[in-house]
Symmetry: C2
Subunit: 125 residues, 2 copies
DNA sequence: ATTCTTGCAAAGAGTTTGCATAATA
DNA sequence: TATTATGCAAACTCTTTGCAAGAAT
């Protein structure tokens, strides 16, 4: 993979944002200082960065794909109140994967877990 | 909601298939005996049937939406070998939801859990 | 010099929608 | 008769792709 300034900008954008940006968010934001940047380039680089495991893709049903700097296996919670999407890191996930694999006699290589509900902040305010 | 023959056909199709059909699969199949059926009608009815909780929608990342007659909360396993998509019904899921809600201090109303891996059949053959 | 990447625009897949007509209640 | 649903086609959103020009090795 050859170096490109565009790819560096895109990667840095994702690494510096905790809010799971979309391709279009990244494009619109970076275009301000890089008027020649094209949306195709953003898509192509997000795919490459995902394939090289520098970032992760997060797919929510009925929503545009989002990108995540958090590489560890984790779940997501979509809050119905504030609309935020937050990472859920927990040992419970690993326990769950292990016990369900054993119980169901299946092999789990990867998972996609999304909760709909209310985040900690909204729940306690 | 007014009765329609098209909606009945679409609902029955989903109820009689265990393989999580897509809108297009349903359309193509029903069109054989109902040449005037339109894809728009299929989409509109699948939305209505989902809203009235007669069927469920299953969204897999990067794949077309699928529809499911299994109304109980459950997970899915996508087998990397045979390509099948199977329902995972287990009490472990409920335990997981409860313990993670407590641990993270969040409220979970709904979930979307998809495993990638190897199904029981492929694993043991 | 060769290979990879870009910008641009067009095409693609899947889904939704506007509208006149038809069916249901 | 009033409301809801249909068929058809066009529109829409998100994403991918072909190609000639430009940048990196």
């Amino acid at each position: 993979m050859k170096y490109s300034k565009q790819r560096e900008l895109i990667l840095n954008y994702v690494l510096n944002h905790n809010d799971h940006p979309t391709a279009d968010t990244i494009y619109t934001s970076l275009k301000k200082d890089n008027p020649k940047l094209s949306l195709g380039t953003v898509y192509r680089n997000l795919i490459k960065l995902t394939e090289s495991n520098e970032i992760k893709k997060v797919s929510l049903p009925g929503e545009v794909d989002k990108f995540d700097k958090n590489l560890s296996p984790h779940a997501h919670l979509k809050c119905n109140i504030c609309g935020c999407l937050i990472d859920i890191n927990s040992l419970e996930i690993d326990n769950f994967i292990k016990s369900i694999s054993k119980e169901q006699d299946i092999k789990i290589d990867n998972f996609n877990i999304i909760f709909d509900g209310v985040c900690k902040n909204c729940k306690n305010n």
